[in-house]
Structure formats: structure tokens, C-alpha cells
């Protein structure tokens, strides 16, 4: 019981003197772990050789079968973030982080058992379902807490946490390879032991985050901070209940803004290695292509912090305008870089595109906070994450199928991506239009207590009711 009460929201209220700068590392503890999902592909090849060891044998799992593990996890991420978003918001960050850690680690343990008995369905259940729930809960758990601690710079605060998600693969990838090398023997691949080790490491890491996280005391505000007196049109002081928020056109416009921005980036990220080699035959080796992928991941991570922090100064809407305008121009330039054979120009285009891909993820929580208030921002963010799940399907399908279609119709490999680039640019134009249509949320969606009196910073435990409740 005492353990469970330790997780309560009431036990996470910060005492006077608590530094808010402890909260970003707490959030990073979560995001640096769950972001391992981006590095899951390092297990794909070893898992096709669990029986054959040196090469795939009859009965070994195929790559398409293994591809479903990641797809299920990303799908469950979106759905669990949507379903449990309100629970995360009302139960407090510690309970959510603790549960996320438990689910994430269980995902690895169950998957290790699935590998041990060589049953892929158990791996789907482990990493896909349990891991996916851990991903969903973990992804949204620190968001509203950070926004409440940093009302002066909400973009920077959430950008720091979500940067961790983008950077996690840098740790997970070499760590997984090192662990597999340690556990492998001439008769054993060592994936199951690696999964157990990662599960233990991630459980400890995430529970440390849960232990150190705090929420601000009622009425707290940063020293010297005074909320702006003149209200900006697109920054509300009111809160919108989560299930009212998803009825607003603003929510769905932001959903499409995120979905289109992610679709444009995710397809490229998955095909970056092959694309760089095929567009520059003889100039980009396999090793160099791997370096290119690493560089993209690095800018994906840095863009999360840079763009989200920038959005605190230029506004969220303008930040997304930057993504869509600059992104459209850069995608249109990519075929030109191929035609002049400039690897440097090609790399420059894509590192900027990737920074904006990451920036889109990191800026959106603050965009939601501006539109719907602080109170249910985590839960609303949970619903918005379904845009990511959808983009995870659209992006790779678009890039892969258009490339195949082009090659089947006699287009040289070096030019097979050109049409894809123009389609991606077109998607960003649609995103620009969606972003342009976003206006302030109508007052009828504001929570009842907010209608009576404007509030400064509201606590979750307060008695405001959903509109119409």
C-alpha cells in the first residue's frame, strides 16, 4: 500500500526549494529508454538466425514477419496513448512513469521468453503489446508536467524530453550490438539474454525517473515570471476537456499537420541508406550510407530541441510554417542535388529536413497547450499520437511503392526517388494549408470553471467540469 501511495499525485508535489531543472532529466530517463524502439532494427538480422546461427535455417523467422514487431508496437503506442491519456493526466506523472517502466521492461522479458521457446506470437505480445503500452504511457507521461514547470518556455521543456526519444537509438544501438556480442556463442545468437539485460537496465532507469519527478505546488510560478497580461490570439488561458478537444476542428487540423510532417520524414528515414547509395552510385559506400543514417538521426534529435525552443520565441504556428515552406523547397531541391552529383548538397537538404521532422514531434505538445490549455494537454497529446501511427504506415508505403513503381516502369535507380520527393513536397503544401486554417478554439469548448473566471495556472485536482458536464 505504501508503495502504491508513493506513486500518488499528492506525493509528487514539490517542496519549496525544489529546482525545476531536475524535471527534464526525469523526463529524459523515460524517453531515453522508450526511444530504443528506433533502434529495434539491430535485432532483425540476428533474429532471422536464431536456429541457423550463421545463416537462416528452415523454421527461422523471416524479416517481414519480424517487421510486424515494430509495427505492432508503434500502433499500440498510438492507441494506448489515446486510451490511457486521461488516466496519465489525472493519476500524475510518477504513477504513469512507473507503469510505463514496468510495461516496457515486461515487454523485453516476455519477448526474451518468446525467443527462448521460439514463438513469434509471444514476441508480438511482449514487445508489440506490452512494450507498445510502455511506449504510449512513457511518451506522454512527462509532457504536461514539464509544461507546468516551464510556463515561460514550454517548447524548450518538452523539446528536451522528446529530444531524448530521438537520441535513445544512439545509446540502444551500440549497447544492443555490444550485449549480443557478449552473449553470443558458436551455438547461440544471444538475443534473449540481450533482451533481459535491456529490460533490467530500462526498468531501473525509468524507475529512477519516476522517483525524481515532481509536480509544482498549487500556485507555483518561476521566479520573476509574470504571465503575459495581453492575451495572444493563439495562446489560450482556458482549459479544454480532453474529449471536448478531440471534437474541435483545431485538434484535427493539428492532427493532419503532425501526420503530414511526420509522413514526409519517416519514409525518408527508413530508406535513407538505400536512397543515398542509389542516387549516388559509386560515390556513397555502404559504410558511408550508415554514417549518413547516423547523421540524420543526430539532426532528428537536435532539431527536437532547436525547433521546439525556437517556437517559444516565434510561436508554434510560425514554426510549422517554417517546416512546411522550408521542407517543400528542400524536397524539390533533392532531385537537383542528384542531377549535379553533389553528395554534400544532398546531405545538407536531408539533415535540415530531419531536424524539422524531429522538430514537428517536439513542438506539438506546446502547440496543444497553446490551443487547449495545460490541464489535459498530456491526454490530448495522447490522442494526437495516433497521427504518428498513421504516418508510420503512410510514409514508408509511399516511398517504397513509388520507388518500385518507377523502377518497374524503366526509370533508372538514381532517379527513382524524384517523384517521391515531389509528392513529399506536395504533402507539405497540404500541411501548410492545414496549419494556416488553425484558429483559436471557440469559447464553448472551454471548461466551465474557466468560463467564470480566467485562471493563472490551474491544478489538475481543481473542480472544473468539462463543458456540458
Amino acid at each position: 500500500m505504501s508503495m502504491l501511495s508513493f506513486l500518488d499525485r499528492s506525493h509528487t508535489i514539490a517542496k519549496p526549494g525544489f529546482s525545476r531543472w531536475i524535471v527534464p532529466p526525469a523526463a529524459l530517463c523515460i524517453h531515453l529508454c522508450i526511444g530504443q524502439a528506433y533502434a529495434f532494427s539491430v535485432f532483425n538480422l540476428p533474429m532471422t538466425k536464431l536456429i541457423g546461427i550463421s545463416k537462416s535455417a528452415p523454421g527461422d523467422w523471416s524479416l517481414p514477419e519480424l517487421g510486424w514487431i515494430f509495427s505492432i508496437a508503434i500502433f499500440v503506442l498510438g492507441t494506448s496513448a489515446a486510451i490511457f491519456g486521461r488516466w496519465v493526466e489525472e493519476g500524475g506523472p510518477r504513477r504513469a512513469m512507473f507503469t510505463a517502466g514496468l510495461c516496457w521492461a515486461l515487454g523485453f522479458f516476455i519477448s526474451a521468453f518468446g525467443i527462448y521457446i521460439h514463438n513469434l506470437w509471444v514476441v508480438y505480445l511482449g514487445y508489440g503489446i506490452f512494450g507498445g503500452i510502455g511506449l504510449g504511457l512513457g511518451y506522454i507521461s512527462p509532457v504536461s508536467t514539464l509544461i507546468k514547470w516551464f510556463p515561460d518556455r514550454p517548447g524548450m521543456a518538452t523539446g528536451m524530453a522528446i529530444m531524448g526519444f530521438g537520441g535513445a537509438a544512439f545509446i540502444a544501438s551500440p549497447l544492443s550490438v555490444w550485449l549480443m556480442a557478449k552473449f553470443s556463442t558458436p551455438t547461440h545468437v544471444g538475443v534473449a539474454e540481450t533482451f533481459i539485460s535491456l529490460g533490467v537496465i530500462y526498468l531501473i532507469f525509468m524507475w529512477v525517473g519516476a522517483a525524481i519527478v515532481r509536480i509544482p505546488a498549487p500556485g507555483w510560478k518561476p521566479e520573476g515570471y509574470t504571465p503575459p497580461v495581453v492575451q495572444q490570439k493563439l495562446i489560450t488561458k482556458n482549459d479544454v476537456y480532453v474529449y471536448d478537444a478531440i471534437k474541435t476542428p483545431q485538434f484535427w487540423l493539428i492532427w493532419w499537420v503532425l501526420c503530414l510532417n511526420v509522413t514526409a520524414g519517416i519514409g525518408v528515414l527508413g530508406q535513407a541508406s538505400a536512397m543515398s547509395q542509389e542516387m549516388f552510385p559509386g560515390k556513397v559506400s555502404v559504410v558511408a550510407a550508415a554514417g549518413f543514417v547516423g547523421l540524420l538521426s543526430l539532426f532528428n534529435m537536435l532539431g527536437r530541441f532547436f525547433w521546439a525552443s525556437t517556437s517559444d520565441y516565434i510561436g508554434r504556428k510560425n514554426t510549422y510554417f517554417c517546416f512546411f515552406v522550408l521542407g517543400t523547397v528542400l524536397y524539390c531541391l533533392v532531385p537537383w542535388t542528384g542531377s549535379i552529383g553533389s553528395v554534400a548538397a544532398f546531405v545538407l537538404c536531408f539533415v535540415i529536413i530531419m531536424s524539422m521532422y524531429g522538430g514537428g514531434f517536439a513542438t506539438v505538445p506546446a502547440y496543444l497547450k497553446d490551443m487547449f490549455g495545460t490541464r489535459y494537454v498530456g491526454a490530448i497529446h495522447g490522442w494526437l499520437i495516433t497521427a504518428w501511427s498513421a504516418a508510420g504506415v503512410f510514409g514508408p508505403v509511399l516511398v517504397n511503392y513509388i520507388r518500385e513503381y518507377q523502377i518497374d516502369h524503366g526509370v533508372p535507380k538514381a532517379q527513382a526517388y524524384n517523384v517521391t520527393m515531389y509528392i513529399m513536397a506536395g504533402l507539405l503544401v497540404v500541411g501548410f494549408l492545414c496549419n494556416m486554417m488553425i484558429k483559436a478554439v471557440h469559447a464553448r469548448y472551454h471548461m466551465e470553471a474557466d468560463r467564470d473566471a480566467e485562471r493563472g495556472q490551474m491544478n489538475v485536482g481543481a473542480a472544473a467540469k468539462p463543458a456540458g458536464a
Partner: protein
């Protein structure tokens, strides 16, 4: 109720430990990635 950092709740040591706990693994990972990325320009 303005907050003044580091009165009796959080010390500099707490901050260093917390940021080190997440920063050191991240910095290690970034360095590994940069080493690989340099091969693109060799």
C-alpha cells in the same frame, strides 16, 4: 509563491547527478554516432 532554486529542496549535487545520469549515456551515444558519420566524408 515564487520558487527560488536550490534553497532546501535541490542542491547543485542533485542537479549534477540527475543530468549526469542521463547526459553521460547520451553523450557516449552521440560520440559513437559522430564517429560513424565521419565516414561519410572520408
Amino acid at each position: 509563491m515564487a520558487n527560488t532554486d536550490q534553497q532546501n529542496g535541490s542542491t547543485t549535487l542533485h542537479l549534477v547527478l540527475a543530468w549526469g545520469f542521463v547526459g553521460i549515456p547520451l553523450a557516449w551515444g552521440v560520440l559513437q554516432t559522430l564517429e560513424n558519420a565521419l565516414k561519410l566524408f572520408q
